[in-house]
C-alpha cells in the first residue's frame, strides 16, 4: 500500500468513527431519564405548552426523522440552539474551543520541554541519583490528581506568594501576538497572559510530563541496548550524536503514538483543570450544559471533543507512517 492510499484509508476510517461519535451522542438523550422539554418548560407548564415546546424543538417527530435532521444540519455546521443561552451552539462551542486548545497546548509544552531531557538524562545515567530523582518525580506525577495539584499551586503561588492569578483567562495568546502589531506594550501583555495560564498549564501538564519521562526513559534504555548503537559506538561516532540523533529519534516515534491515544486524557484533564481555575473553555461548558440539561450545547461540545480526538489520531498515524514506512505495509 502506498503512503497516499494509507492516508486515504485512515481518513475514511476516521469519518466512520466520527459518524459513530455523532450517533452515540445523539443516542445519549434517549437512554437518559426525563424529557428534554423539562429543561425548557416552566415547572407549572400545561400539557398544551409542553406540546408546543416539543413541536418547536422538533421533539414530536419520529426518532429517525430527528436523527436524520440532526445529522443533516450538522453537516452544514448547524448544531442547533442552546436551550438555556439561546445562542447558536456552533458559535458557543467555537467561542470556547480556543481557550481549551490554548490550555492543552500550553500544558503539552510544559510537559514535553521538561520530560524529554529528563527521560534522556535518566536513561543515560541509569541508577545514578539523577535517575532516582527523575523516577520519583515521574511516579509522583502520574499518581497526583491534577485538580488537587491545581489547588496546591493556588495555595502556594497565589495565596502565599501572590504571584499568579487563579481564576479566568485574562488575555489570550492572540492578544499577545496582536500587541506586537498594534505596538502595545508587548511585555506587559505577555506577563498578563503568563500570570493566568502558568498555574493551570502546570497542573494539567504534570501528568503528561511524568508519563513522557517514563516512556522516554524506557524507550531510550531499549534503544541504547540495540545492535546499531553498539555498531555506531564501535565505529567511533561521538556519544551525543548516537544518543540524540539515533536513539532519541527512534524512541520518540512510539512516544508520539501513545501521546495521541492519551489526548483523551489531556482533554478530560482540561475539563477538571478548567473547573479549578474557572478557565472559560469547553470543559466548563460541558459541565454547565449537563447541570442545566442543555442538550444541544452538551451534544455539540461532545461531538467537537470526540472529533478533535479522531482528527489528532489520524494525524498521528499518518505522521507515524511517514516516519516509519513499515507501518503502511501492515
Amino acid at each position: 500500500m502506498s503512503f497516499g492510499r494509507f492516508a486515504l484509508k485512515r481518513s475514511l476510517q476516521g469519518i466512520g468513527v466520527v459518524w459513530g461519535v455523532v450517533t452515540v451522542v445523539f443516542a445519549l438523550r434517549f437512554v437518559t431519564p426525563g424529557s428534554p422539554i423539562n429543561a425548557v418548560a416552566p415547572l407549572d407548564a400545561t400539557q398544551e405548552t409542553r406540546q408546543a415546546i416539543a413541536a418547536e424543538l422538533g421533539l414530536n417527530q419520529p426518532l429517525y426523522v430527528q436523527y436524520g435532521q440532526y445529522v443533516f444540519e450538522l453537516l452544514q455546521g448547524d448544531m442547533g440552539r442552546s436551550y438555556i443561552r439561546g445562542q447558536e451552539v456552533t458559535t458557543l462551542v467555537f467561542e470556547r474551543l480556543p481557550a481549551t486548545i490554548e490550555l492543552a497546548l500550553a500544558a503539552s509544552v510544559v510537559a514535553i520541554v521538561l520530560a524529554i531531557p529528563l527521560g534522556v538524562i535518566s536513561a543515560t545515567r541509569r541508577n545514578e541519583p539523577v535517575d532516582y530523582g527523575a523516577t520519583l518525580v515521574s511516579l509522583g506525577g502520574i499518581s497526583t490528581p491534577n485538580f488537587w495539584l491545581g489547588i496546591m499551586l493556588i495555595l502556594i503561588f497565589a495565596v502565599e506568594f501572590n504571584i499568579f492569578n487563579t481564576s479566568g483567562r485574562g488575555v489570550d495568546v492572540g492578544d499577545v501576538a496582536m500587541s506586537v502589531i498594534n505596538a502595545e506594550p508587548f511585555v506587559g501583555t505577555l506577563l498578563t497572559w503568563l500570570a493566568y495560564i502558568t498555574l493551570p498549564a502546570i497542573a494539567l501538564g504534570t501528568y503528561f510530563m511524568a508519563l513522557i519521562t517514563r516512556l522516554t526513559r524506557s524507550g531510550m534504555l531499549d534503544e541504547l541496548s540495540k545492535g546499531y548503537v553498539q555498531a555506531a559506538r564501535a565505529k567511533g561516532l561521538p556519544r551525543t550524536l548516537i544518543r540524540y540523533k539515533h536513539a532519541l529519534r527512534n524512541t520518540l516515534i512510539p512516544v508520539i503514538t501513545v501521546l495521541g491515544l492519551q489526548l483523551g486524557t489531556l482533554i478530560g484533564g482540561a475539563v477538571i483543570t478548567e473547573a479549578v481555575f474557572s478557565w472559560p473553555g469547553l470543559g466548563t461548558l460541558v459541565i454547565e450544559s449537563i447541570n442545566q440539561r442543555d442538550w444541544p450545547a452538551l451534544q455539540g461540545s461532545l461531538i467537537v471533543i470526540g472529533t478533535s480526538f479522531v482528527l489528532v489520531n489520524i494525524l498521528v498515524d499518518v505522521v507515524y507512517a511517514y516516519l516509519d514506512p513499515e507501518v503502511v505495509t501492515d
Binding site: 476510517q13 466512520g16 468513527v17 459513530g20 461519535v21 452515540v24 445519549l28 437518559t32 431519564p33 523516577t135 511516579l139 509522583g140 502520574i142 499518581s143 497526583t144 490528581p145 485538580f147 488537587w148 495539584l149 489547588i151 496546591m152 493556588i154 495555595l155 495565596v159 501528568y207 508519563l211 517514563r214 516512556l215 501513545v258 491515544l261 492519551q262 483523551g264 486524557t265 489531556l266 482533554i267 478530560g268 484533564g269 475539563v271 477538571i272 473547573a275 479549578v276 470543559g283 460541558v286 459541565i287 449537563i290 447541570n291 440539561r293 452538551l298 461532545l302 471533543i305 470526540g306 472529533t307 480526538f309 479522531v310
Partner: protein, 339 residues
Amino acid sequence: MVSSRVIRNLKKEFKNSGLAKLGLALVVVILLTAVFAPFIAPHNPTDQQLNQSELPPIGFSETAERTSSQMVDGEIQTVTEEVEITADPDHVFGTDGLGRDMFSRVVYGARTSLIVGVLGTLLAASIGVPVGLLAGYHRGRVDDALMRIADISLAFPSLVLAVALIGLWGRAAVNVPDPFVVAGLAPEMPESFVLPITVVIVVGLVNWVWFARVARGEALSLRGQEYVKASRALGADDNTIILRHVLPNAVTPIIVLGTVQVAAIILLESSLSFLGFSGTTLSWGFDIAQGRDYVSSGQWWIASIPGLAIMLSVIGINLLGDWLRDALDPGIEGEGGAA
C-alpha cells in the same frame, strides 16, 4: 495459570526492587485501613462538631484573626480579635469547616476509593475481556466491529463521558450495612457504607475498552499457537478453546492492566467526587472540593490532606503494577486509561 516460574520471577523482582517493597507496603496499609476503618477512625467521620471546626493538624497551631458578630452596648457589631487556634490532640489531622475529624474522613475515604476502584475494574474487565478474546480469536467481521466500537469509545475522554453519564443518569447510591458496626463492635461509627453505584457502573463502562484491547491482542497472538491449532484439529469447539487455552495464557497482561486500572479508576473517582458527580460525601475528592473554599482563608489542611491520601494510594498501586509488569512480562505496555 500461576506457574512456579511466575512465582520465582515475582520473588526475584521483589527482592531486587525497593520500590516494589514500598508499593506493597502502601497497598497493604491502605487495604487494612479500608477494611478496618471503624476501628482505626477515632471519630465518626460524619459527626459535625461546629464548636470544633477548622482546627489545624497537630504541630500547626497558629494565631489567626477571627471576626464575629457580638452584642456591644445593645448593638450588633463586628468584632475582630486575635485568637490562638491550638491543635487538638484528639484530631491528629485537624477538623474541617463543619468540625468533622479529618483523620477519620481520610480513613473512611480509603473505603470509597478502593471499593470503587476494585469493583469498577472488575466490571470493566468482565465486559472488556470476553469481548476482546472473542474478537481476537474469531477475527473477521466481529473483530472489525469491535475495533470500530473501541475507536468510538476512545474518542470520548473517560472523565467527560463519566461526568455526562452520571450527570444525566443521576447519582444513585446503595447503603451497605457495615458488618463491624452491625455486630456491635464499633457502635459510634456510621451504620452503613454508602456505595456510589452509578459511579461504579459508569467507571466500568468507560474503561472496558482498555481490557478489550489487551485481551484482543493476546487472543490474536495465541490463536496461531500450535496447541490451539492442535485442540482445534482434535475437534474442540471455539468456546472451549477460548476458555481452556486462550484465557489462561492471557491472564498475566490482564492482571497487570487491572492493577494500573485500579489506580486510574481511583483518580477518576476522586475527579468525579471533586466535581460533585458522585453519590457519596465520604470521599477524598469530595473533601478536596470542600477544602477548596478554605484555601484562601488559611485552612490549607482541609484540601491538602485528602489529596496526599489519594497520591499515596495511587503511588502504591502503580508501584505494585510496575513490579508485576517487570516480573511477569517485560513486553507489556503499561500505560492507559487514566483519569
